[in-house]
Amino acid sequence: MSLMINHLKLKITTSNGIFGVDIPFERGLFILQADNTSGKSTCLLSILYALGLEGMLGPSHRMTLPPVVWERVEYEGRNYSVIESEVLLEISNSTEIITIQRQIKGNRNRNLINVWNGPSLTSPSDSYRCSSYMVREQGGATREIGFHRFLANFIDWKLPSVPKYNGEESLLYMETIFPILFIEQKHGWSSLRSRFPTYLGIKDISHRVFEFIMALDAQEIATKKISLKQQEKETKERWYATLRQLNDISSSVDATLENVPQEPTSVWPPTIPPQVLIVTKQEVLTIQEEIEKLEQRLSSMEFESVPVVSDIVESTRYNLKEKENQLFDLEIKIRLLFEEIGQKRMQVTSIESRLSSLESELQRNKDLKKLSELQGIQLLHTATGECPTCNQSISDSLIMPEITNHSMTVDQNIEFINEQIKLFKAMQRNESNELKIEEKKLHQLNTFIAQVRQEIRALKTTLTSQNNAPSYAFIEQKIILDIKIKELRETQKRINNFFGILSHLTEDWNSIQIELSNLPKTGILSHEDKTKISELQHSFHDQLSDYGFSSIDDFQEIQISENSYLPEYEGFEVDISKITSAVDISKITSASDYIRFIWAYLLGLLEVARTHGSNHPGLLIMDEPRQHSANEASIKALFNRASHSSQHGQQVIIATSESDEILNRCLKNIPHKLKQFHGKIIAPL
């Protein structure tokens, strides 16, 4: 994970020959000193341009570089118009050096970037291979020929996919990451949070960039948590579905399931084993006992000889009469039950719709409660029941402003609705239980009536057959018994299969629970993540003290938040663009203190990357860090702190317009490289 700037070359062909500049950079602290308006920022911005990262400054495709490189060069009081210009940049990771060329003005496509696989600037050779890539076009970060894809590989970055506002996913583009590596003069010093480009539509962009650059496990843990929760939910749903099927199967033979856990459990079979029971008026049997009972009856019938019709005419007639009466009664019962069930269903539906409207009213009241707690609301007269114009008391109702003393407060209203919901929920439970019982009853009756009809048919057939024929009813009874036994056996088998599924689901459930328990209980930060954040905080405090930060005495109280990853004081984000009267951060009156803040945070990231695994490429470029004229001692402390980078193979490039005198004082005894320009940087080559 490394990116260093080795050498920059600007080449501008003008009507008066070739202009430009050559700057050899080095590791460690590198100071670029030149007067204001001499072209420092041009040099730094052209680094950004060469890397195709000008999109970091905004969505526009217009030229981000100043006119000096594409319109006219002003030199020694005369103007020369630019005919062609390009930027060349030599960069290295820990093993390779490459050279990048991108045209600024000329005939070639500006979005085409040439890359040589060697140090073409510092040791020119024609043996380097050249390849072309494109940038700032569709697919520039994803396609094989996209330069940013190439560059990400070069830096050894695996850019994550992150959610966008529109619900889609996108790559965490390089343009979003570089604002914490490259602090340009115009916007870079304004705010920590609002430095990231928003036009890409990436959600919570500052979080995502921090997580990536510090290689936090947070995102992975969050994804894992979501996916495990999803699996947990799916397992639950499959459990419910299996239960439903079990119920359907068992009710098809009028059996009931006992002791089957309604929710997934961690042990299968449960301590009280599940049972399939067949309940009749006379007795309660398990399905196995029922099968045995029927088999016994069948085998006892095997021993009887089949009676002949003439012998049983009387008893058959009597039986037929009995059965027909029974059928008549049953039909009436069924019709009544049917009507009752219809009414019950309607009632359940109406309770449900009442419940849903109560719940939406509850939600609204809860919204109201949250609103009333807002500071902006509490400052209002109307919130305290006072007319804003005449200061008389008013009620909380927009329809009846007069005080009546009879209206509920929001809290009372919530309580009131909750009570109603409780009541209706109880009713709902009750009614749907009853409905279930009645539906079951209906099913039983239907099965029974079918049986009676069949018996009647059999008896009639017996009566109409020849006198010496065997009894049809007797034979059919045997057949029915046989079928019933087979059916019960089949059902028993299927139920056992489903119990097998439940047993599998139990295993799934267990492994999900174990994985969940291995993730952090609260939040999404791993132990290592928290260490990194506290290291950052440590470095941050250390630097604030070095830099002479004075706005907040107890700056030890400034925390790097584990939610936003940004500095927070008393729970408020410390951000100059957001200073509101509500926040005591207005204490940070001194703008130079805010600049110290940004130094400390961004350099802090670089420092944490020295001791912890991260995606930080070890590069920090600051354009004019002495904004708002921070005092000399602070800038010296910054230089000192930044110079440690050389021991860790990192690079800090600082462009400044300090005078020679001050700079000499500030850099005394500090290891550094200094490149000075007196007068215009862009000069004849």
């Binding site: 609103l371 500071q375 007269h381 114009t389 009879h406 407060t409």
Partner: protein, 161 residues
């Protein structure tokens, strides 16, 4: 049990308690003010809007049914004969309070604009999670499509048909 017995049975002391009336959440002051600043903040050009458009949108966010009607309307799916918008006097009062509270400002009584304190309130509401979510959503997605011209057209329908 004969009648006398029943009467004796019922003859026990009892008391009445005065019980406060529930208020529909949408007619509470805070609700009205919040919806008003949200409409101006989320979906009004230059944080300004005519009072009739505000009425229209406040009607539209009031219930799931109204939200559906609004979407159908924007997609030209409902009958032009449908008598849509109901004028809601409670929202008028919300507007009056909001002016008095200096959350909104008006020059001529027809156009309202959000003041800085109104804006700050709206921002606070936007930051609240799980609060007025459906209202925020419909305003964000559809609110801007309800422009002044459309409002005029809708409100004049009654006379046209």
């Amino acid at each position: 049990m004969d009648d006398q017995e029943l009467l004796d049975y019922l003859d026990i002391p009892f008391t009445f308690h005065k019980r406060p009336n529930p208020i529909e959440p949408q007619i509470r002051v805070v609700w009205g003010l919040s919806i008003l600043v949200l409409i101006l903040f989320i979906c009004s050009r230059g944080k300004k809007s005519s009072i009739s458009r505000l009425h229209f949108l406040s009607w539209a966010v009031r219930s799931p049914e109204n939200r559906t009607t609004l979407i159908e309307l924007l997609e030209n799916r409902n009958s032009p004969l449908l008598n849509l918008v109901q004028y809601d006097p409670s929202f008028d009062r919300a507007i009056k309070y909001a002016i008095a509270e200096k959350l909104v400002d008006t020059d001529n009584g027809k156009i309202l604009s959000l003041t800085s304190s109104g804006k700050s309130l709206a921002e606070q509401i936007m930051k609240l999670n799980n609060c007025l979510e459906e209202e925020k959503q419909i305003l964000t997605q559809k609110g801007a499509s309800v422009n002044e011209t459309l409002t005029k057209e809708i409100l004049s329908r009654k006379t046209r048909y």
